[in-house]
């Protein structure tokens, strides 16, 4: 009996230890993967065409879905804030509060989640399929640096496109909020825009754009890593895609908190008001 309990404790402790060591090893591998890719971005031969091709995929093809989610996020958020502020007779602040929430938090986070699901999933699936179909091996033995050809352009394209998509999201979401506030619940349009103008500073928008650029690197890095290291046929591709997307989404949300804290700390040092 005692031996059985001891064995079970051993199994639990051993399993936990393995998980932690796996996590550390994988985190290290992902960081090395990223550093390699960044280093190779600036090496010859230049991959401008590949970068543009991936920008078209990550950026251009995500615009519609970003606009759609942005509009409805703005509408829903404005409505909730309107309902709350109506109770304290502060509906004039609906505009700036929505604009602040969108530009600093919801814009970058939702853009990150949507694009990581759409483009990140596609990246992992594409690279995973290339791996199991020996196309990556073929590139390797053709003397093509696969990280430079396949990974670096995807990471760079995501890094460039994410702030642009985030800006689109912010713009459309604020338009959505305007539509609700001015057209549906009859708030004063001049006050709505004036309050936004007097509250929102360029640093608030930059904060969101900065975060979204980081999220772009994060989801591209994780999804590319998962896809690039796929094994086990079609099942492996599915698993790689799933893990890539889920891990990217979780990391974006976790990282958002730490980035926010970091930026507040920097702003405090620089003497900006909250």
């Amino acid at each position: 009996m005692m031996q059985q309990i001891a064995n079970q404790i051993d199994a639990v402790v051993g399993g936990g230890r393995d998980r932690i060591s796996n996590f550390i090893r994988e985190s290290g591998a992902v960081v090395v993967f990223l550093m390699d890719s960044i280093r190779l971005t600036f090496r010859r031969p230049n991959r401008y065409l590949e970068i543009v091709r991936h920008m078209e995929f990550v950026g251009n093809q995500s615009v519609l879905i970003i606009m759609l989610t942005g509009a409805f996020t703005g509408l829903a958020l404005a409505y909730q804030i309107y309902m709350g502020f109506k109770m304290v007779n502060a509906t004039n602040l609906v505009g700036p509060i929505v604009a602040l929430g969108i530009s600093r938090e919801l814009g970058p986070v939702l853009t990150g989640l949507i694009v990581s699901a759409r483009a990140g999933g596609a990246m992992a699936a594409r690279l995973g399929t290339m791996r199991v179909n020996e196309q990556i091996d073929a590139l390797d033995v053709m003397g093509v640096n696969t990280k430079q050809y396949l990974i670096a352009p995807r990471i760079l394209a995501s890094f460039i496109c994410m702030p642009l998509l985030c800006a689109v999201f912010d713009f459309v979401a604020i338009l959505g909020a305007w539509f609700l506030a001015v057209k549906l619940v009859d708030l004063d349009e001049a006050i709505f825009w004036d309050k936004i103008r007097s509250t929102i500073e360029i640093r608030h928008i930059n904060e969101g754009l900065f975060k979204s650029a980081i999220f772009g690197i994060v989801f591209a890095m994780i999804c590319c890593y998962r896809g690039f290291n796929t094994s086990g046929g079609a099942k492996g591709v599915g698993e790689a895609t799933n893990r890539g997307v889920v891990q990217s989404m979780v990391l974006i949300i976790v990282l958002d908190y730490f980035l926010t804290s970091f930026l507040r700390f920097v702003e405090a040092i620089m003497g900006y008001p909250v």
């Binding site: 020996e134 196309q135 091996d137 073929a138 033995v141 053709m142 003397g143 640096n145």
Partner: protein, 263 residues
């Protein structure tokens, strides 16, 4: 049989010396393998499943690093090359993969152009297209298929395209990784003939075919290396295989051969 098989002391293109490989630190997949593949020869590496054929190929291509021992290709120790040098060195290789491994978002012609675009930056676009078309014609692919995607052509055509791509840079060594696996007998014979023809039309090229198709190995190869338990059990000409006293080789050959006898 090519000239390489009849020369007295052939120059060596690929040399494995006491090669050992373990993936888990316990079990050795390759256990002290010695192999010397003559330059200009067509060599087949055969053996039962799980004897390390593909592992050997990946060592030669520099995809795997040996646990111990040495892998020399064209006189250079592949395992000691820096990643960038290895990438550069691989321009000497052409590989026809089991699945052909064509890029599915590129047309047949673009697939063959790809290595040229990557490595022959001195060439103009028109020249690259001409070379690629020439390579495709050499492997017997009709120009009407050049603008098709790999998914729109047959398995045999995909193999031809893969071979044309492997030949695009005029490599010194051509590898065939299980080139006929999963093909019907007619297509298998067509691919075998294509390999032989490709080898004969390129004097000096070293061809290495990893296969479990004994018919093909004995029909087209100058030398055959049979692997067993992570070692080379026998390396020699097809005739030597049929005249050997080694029981395991005799059994393998007797069971594996179906349609071809040596000349």
């Amino acid at each position: 049989m090519t000239e390489a098989a009849s020369s007295a002391a052939p120059e060596i293109a690929i040399r494995l010396t006491d090669l050992r490989k373990t993936f888990d630190g316990k079990e050795f997949v390759v256990q002290g393998m010695d192999l010397a593949i003559p330059k200009g020869s067509l060599t087949a590496i055969i053996g039962f499943s799980g004897t390390g054929k593909s592992v050997i190929l990946k060592h030669i291509l520099g995809i795997y690093k040996p646990t111990s021992g040495k892998v020399e290709v064209l006189g250079r120790d592949v395992a000691s090359l820096r990643p960038d040098d290895l990438t550069d060195f691989r321009k000497n290789f052409g590989v026809l993969f089991q699945s052909a491994a064509l890029f599915d978002d590129m047309t047949v012609l673009e697939n063959v152009c790809f290595p040229l675009v990557e490595h022959r930056r001195d060439l103009k676009e028109k020249q690259i297209l001409e070379i690629a078309a020439e390579k495709l014609k050499q492997v017997g692919l009709d120009p009407k298929h050049f603008q098709k995607l790999p998914s729109q052509i047959s398995g045999g055509m995909q193999k031809r395209t893969g071979l044309a791509r492997a030949l695009a840079l005029d490599p010194e060594i051509l590898f065939y990784d299980e080139p006929t696996t999963g093909l019907d007998p007619i297509l298998t014979e067509m691919v075998d003939d294509l390999i032989l023809e490709t080898h004969h039309h390129r004097p000096g090229i070293t061809s290495v075919m990893v296969s479990h198709d004994l018919d093909a190995a004995f029909r087209i190869a100058d030398y055959v290396a049979m692997l067993h338990a992570g070692k080379v059990l026998l390396f020699g000409t097809p005739e030597e295989f049929f005249n050997t006293d080694i029981d395991l080789v005799q059994t393998f050959v007797a069971k594996g051969m179906k349609r071809t006898k040596p000349n």
